[in-house]
């Protein structure tokens, strides 16, 4: 077979010429171009801003997520402050009540003692009663101090329990229990944050997958 003749018809090849002569019956016969009355369709190329739009959407989602997160943080810090204040108030009230209670008892005892001693005891009796009173006072002070410490430990254990129920709040002075409404609002905020986070991930995956797609098929380059 003459390769040159097959390529550009230089030289000759009987076999190829025979095939050409046989197949010439099917050759294209020149005809007129079709009457094209149809309009040339305008082509709208997709602008580059499509990609920008996708990133804009992702940025907006990110901003919204940041806003929700900031609001939730603010909300939780407000809760913490309120809880701290209420805890402080409770503690101070409790301590004040205990101290005032013990003080009153001491004062009443002292008053009773003083009333019951009378003038018959004289100075020594008065001195003895004063000694007794001082001792009693000391004992009662110690017992009241022990009670205060006991109450303080009870308060601290209660606060630790309330900290365990609130998963995100980690504050030195643990807040008191949340109301039902506050707890519900907190849960709603956490749910919104998780939903926004999953949507952001979807947008990110779509953006990454679109960037990886080839624009031009190599097959078309070869005319196939």
């Amino acid at each position: 077979m003459n390769e040159d003749y097959l390529w550009d018809k230089t030289g000759g090849d009987p076999e190829i010429e025979r095939l050409e002569n046989a197949l010439a019956a099917f050759r294209y016969r020149e005809t007129a171009a079709p009457a094209v009355e149809a309009k040339v369709l305008p082509f709208k190329a997709k602008p580059a801003r499509f990609q920008f739009f996708r990133f804009k959407y992702a940025a907006a989602s990110l901003a919204f997520a940041a806003l929700v997160f900031a609001v939730s943080l603010q909300f939780s810090s407000d809760e913490t402050n309120v809880e701290n204040e209420s805890a402080q108030a409770l503690k101070s009230e409790q301590i004040a009540s205990i101290e005032s209670g013990s003080g009153n008892r001491i004062e009443s005892n002292v008053t009773n003692r003083n009333d019951s001693s009378g003038e018959k005891s004289g100075v020594s009796t008065i001195e003895k009663s004063n000694d007794l009173t001082a001792k009693t006072l000391k004992n009662r002070q110690r017992s009241s101090e022990r009670q205060i410490v006991k109450i303080k430990t009870e308060i601290s254990t209660n606060n630790r329990r309330s900290d365990a129920k609130l998963p995100t709040t980690k504050h030195a002075d643990a807040p008191a229990k949340l109301t039902d409404e506050e707890r519900f609002a907190y849960k709603q905020l956490m749910l919104a944050l998780s939903v926004t986070g999953s949507k952001l991930q979807i947008v990110k995956d779509k953006a990454q997958s679109t960037d990886e797609k080839p624009i031009v098929k190599t097959a078309m380059k070869d005319g196939r």
Binding site: K39, L41, K46
Partner: protein
């Protein structure tokens, strides 16, 4: 399948450009690129020149797939579709490849849309016998792989040279040369096997 759908998958040719103005501003090196620009501007005469230049190529590509009696109609449909969607051409210098793909798609669409065929009458069968050898050869060529049959039909039927085939279809010279060589070899083997029977 509408014409827009047939050529719709070719629109990615134009997606690489930011906008249509960039497409129009592309340098027109080859004569067909200039023809494309003129057709876009509404020049009917340019379309006539475009048809005259590419019709033999499109006819050969269509003939590789569909019966001869249908090839002429399909060629016309190809150019009508090309005219309507001329703005979708991404590279006017390579419009031949774009046009060739439209021809292949139209050929596929022909087989999807055609009705069940009836047997030829006796008198027509006798006329076909005159070209019996040619029909047999054409049938053998159509049974070859796509790349070989198109190239062989353009060379043996339409009488184009290898360089012309490469220019009109968007293939490289080397690809055409390989297709011609391997296709011819395969054709000879099949014709030889048929003669031995």
């Amino acid at each position: 399948m509408s014409e827009n759908k047939i050529t719709g998958n070719l629109f990615y040719f134009a997606r690489g450009a930011a906008n249509a103005d960039v497409l129009r501003a592309a340098p027109a090196g080859k004569p067909e690129a200039r023809l494309v620009e003129r057709i876009r501007a509404g020049d009917r005469e340019a379309f006539g020149e475009f048809y005259k230049r590419f019709a033999p190529t499109i006819h050969g590509i269509v003939l590789a797939r569909v019966p001869r009696s249908e090839a002429d109609d399909i060629v016309q449909n190809v150019f009508v579709a090309a005219y309507k969607n001329i703005n979708a051409v991404r590279d006017p210098n390579n419009v031949g490849a774009w046009l060739a793909q439209i021809a292949r798609n139209q050929s596929i669409e022909y087989f999807r849309a055609r009705k069940p065929t009836e047997d030829l009458p006796e008198e027509l069968r006798e006329k076909d016998n005159r070209n019996h050898e040619a029909s047999e050869i054409l049938t053998i060529i159509r049974a070859l792989p796509d790349a070989y049959r198109e190239t062989l039909i353009l060379r043996l039927v339409e009488g184009m040279t290898g360089a012309e085939i490469a220019e009109r279809t968007g293939l490289t010279n080397d690809s055409v040369r390989v297709n011609l060589h391997r296709g011819m070899k395969m054709l000879r083997e099949k014709i030889g096997a048929g003669e031995k029977r």
